[in-house]
Structure formats: structure tokens, C-alpha cells
């Protein structure tokens, strides 16, 4: 391993679900490659595994309800 690779910080993201817009279609759950999202008992999308998010934006782009917003955390810590 090169020094450069070991020094790269893991990227962190936030996934925000607007539950007023979310209609519970489950598309986001199915398009997420890392199982970050799951349906809760109120049939709304819910973030359950944020640490694995890669920021691929699939959930945001495929959400038909404009309910999901993914942002990168500007990591300083």
C-alpha cells in the first residue's frame, strides 16, 4: 500500500428523508447498494445504516417524491 492510499479519510454522508414527501414506495430501499435505508413501521423510508453510505445518490435520484437529500459531511475531525 502506498502512503497516499492509507492517508485517505473515509467520506461521510448524511441521508435526510422528508417524511412529508415520502409515500413509502420502497424504491430507495431497493436501489441502495449498501442497505442504508429500510422501511419503518409507519411505512416511511428510514436511515438505518448511515456509515456504509457511499454517496452514490441512487436513493435521491430514484426517489419519485423528491423526499431524499444526500449531502457530504465536510469532515475535519
Amino acid at each position: 500500500m502506498t502512503a497516499l492510499a492509507t492517508e485517505r479519510k473515509p467520506r461521510l454522508f448524511t441521508v435526510e428523508v422528508n417524511t412529508t414527501y415520502c409515500k413509502g414506495c420502497e424504491i430507495c430501499v431497493q436501489v441502495c447498494p449498501k442497505n442504508v435505508l429500510a422501511m419503518n413501521d409507519r411505512l416511511k423510508a428510514n436511515v438505518v445504516n448511515l456509515k456504509d453510505c457511499t454517496g452514490c445518490l441512487n436513493c435521491e435520484i430514484y426517489c419519485p417524491d423528491f423526499a431524499i437529500n444526500v449531502e457530504e459531511v465536510e469532515a475535519n475531525a
Binding site: 467520506r11 420502497e26 435520484i61 423528491f66 457530504e72
Partner: protein
């Protein structure tokens, strides 16, 4: 660090109008987002862009978008759009229409807008069904599929809208499915850059009426199925008609720029003012 491909979608939406009326899992929101992203990519001004829609589920899109917007009569979106573009060619004109709106009641307007190559980008959200009226078959419903007005299966052959508009004279034609949202975004971006009539057929899912009636599963299952029955332009070129049966060709199907109609009319104005004609 910005996320690659992240765009401020909400800036282009009338957020006070959301949530929208579309059913859970309806693909129209995915296509509408692809359009918004393409508008952002091209950098169209929100103040100089008009979104025109007809009647039906898909045509409700105009009300949610923060531009000058007009929700017209059934099938007539392209005719209204033609008037807008001709009266003020400086405006960017985008039409959102559905399969029934564009190809049944509005079929004549579709072929003539394509023939003129007028500077309009037309996005046809094809979910294979009349959703607003709860599930009657449209000209793009596949043969044998069930619909409330085809309880024994559709006997009408379905329209290939891309072939239709290409034959009529559109200068840019592309097709994609909701599952290929990023490709749709790319096609719409290229369509908006084309100075002429651009047509995008966005195949998406109606889980409520088409899906349920035909036992196609949930929204995601329908999207996957649409992706699986898609064949790229390059692959399709090597396939026989029998092999292409039941498949749809996706990609940029036609891209052949030719003079845009309103610009051609500029030459009419020049000729008339120089004393030509008659």
C-alpha cells in the same frame, strides 16, 4: 468535497406544492427529476423557460416546477408550445406529456411539431396506461396486456413513438426507462442542447393501474423488468426482428440537426422585408 452528480434539485421545484399527487412508486417523479437535473446541466434560466403540459397524470408535472408553467388541454400541449415558441423564440420551451396525451388525442400535433422541427423539447412519460382515468389502455399499451377497457387483453398494436417522430422529422430522438434515470438525464441534456424538435420517450411505471392489473409486482419490480427488456441501440443493430420482439431499444436513436422552424421563419421575415415573396 462535493458529491459527483449532486445538483440542487429543490431550487427548480415549487416546494410549497409538494408532495405531488402521483401514487406511491409512480415513475413520473423520477423522470421529472431527470428533467430538472438536465435543465441544471444545460444552465437554462428559470425565468426564460416555459414548461407546457397537457392532461393526464404526467401533465401534472408542470405545476410542481418553478418556471413559467402551463397545464393545457388534453393532447394540445405541443400546439400551445408551438404558439409560445413562435411568438417569442427567445424562450426555452419544454413539453411534458403522457403516452395517451401525446400519441392518441395529441397524435396529430406530435407529428407536425416533429415535422416542423420547432425548437421544443418534448418528454413523453410513457407508462403504457391512462392513469388519471384509472387504467384504460393507451396507444402504447402492449398487445395482450389488460386494462379496464380491454378486460380480455388489448388487440390494438402499440405505437413505437420514437420511430413515429423520427419519421415525421424530429432532429433528436432518444428513449430510456426510469431505471436508467442517469441515462435519461443525459439524453434530456442533449435534447435541450439540440436546436430543433427533440423527443425523449421515458418509459416508466404505473404500479397502481398497469402494474396491478397485469400482476407486474411493485414499482421496483416494474422498473427492473423495463430495464431487463431494454436493448441498447448498438446491440439492437445486430438483432433480428424476432429477437427484438417484446423488447424496447434504448439510447440515442436519432441525432441529425436540421434548421429550426422559428429560425427558418426569421428568414421569411428577412425575405418579406426585402420585398420578396408573391
Amino acid at each position: 468535497m462535493a458529491i459527483a452528480g449532486k445538483i440542487p434539485t429543490r431550487k427548480y421545484l415549487r416546494q410549497d406544492r409538494l408532495p405531488h399527487i402521483w401514487c406511491p412508486g409512480c415513475g413520473h417523479g423520477i423522470v421529472m427529476q431527470a428533467l430538472v437535473r438536465a435543465i441544471h446541466n444545460v444552465g437554462l434560466s428559470q425565468d426564460k423557460t416555459v414548461i407546457v403540459s397537457g392532461i393526464g397524470c404526467s401533465s401534472r408535472a408542470s405545476g410542481y416546477m418553478d418556471f413559467d408553467t402551463i397545464h393545457t388541454t388534453h393532447g394540445r400541449a405541443l400546439a400551445f408550445a408551438t404558439g409560445i415558441k413562435m411568438a417569442n423564440p427567445e424562450l426555452n420551451v419544454i413539453v411534458m406529456t403522457g403516452d395517451g396525451d401525446a400519441s392518441a388525442i395529441g397524435g396529430n400535433h406530435l407529428i407536425h411539431a416533429a415535422r416542423r422541427n420547432i425548437g421544443i423539447t418534448c418528454i413523453c412519460l410513457n407508462n403504457n396506461i391512462y392513469g388519471m382515468t384509472s387504467g384504460q389502455f393507451s396507444p402504447t399499451t402492449p398487445e395482450c396486456a389488460l386494462a379496464t377497457t380491454a378486460p380480455y387483453g388489448v388487440i390494438d398494436p402499440s405505437f413505437d413513438l420514437c420511430k413515429l417522430v423520427q419519421a415525421a422529422g424530429a432532429s433528436y430522438v432518444a428513449r430510456g426507462t426510469a431505471m436508467q434515470a442517469r441515462m435519461l438525464e443525459k439524453y434530456i441534456t442533449n435534447a435541450l442542447k439540440n436546436d430543433g424538435f427533440s423527443f425523449i420517450e421515458a418509459i416508466d411505471q404505473c404500479p397502481t393501474y398497469f402494474g396491478r392489473k397485469n400482476k407486474l409486482g411493485d414499482a421496483y419490480a416494474m422498473m427492473k423488468r423495463q430495464q431487463e427488456t431494454s436493448v441498447s441501440v448498438s446491440k439492437a443493430a445486430a438483432m433480428t426482428p424476432a429477437e427484438l420482439e417484446g423488447k424496447q431499444v434504448v439510447g440515442e436513436l436519432w441525432n441529425s440537426p436540421r434548421p429550426e422552424y422559428a429560425k427558418s421563419y426569421d428568414q421569411v421575415i428577412a425575405k418579406a422585408q426585402q420585398g420578396g415573396g408573391r
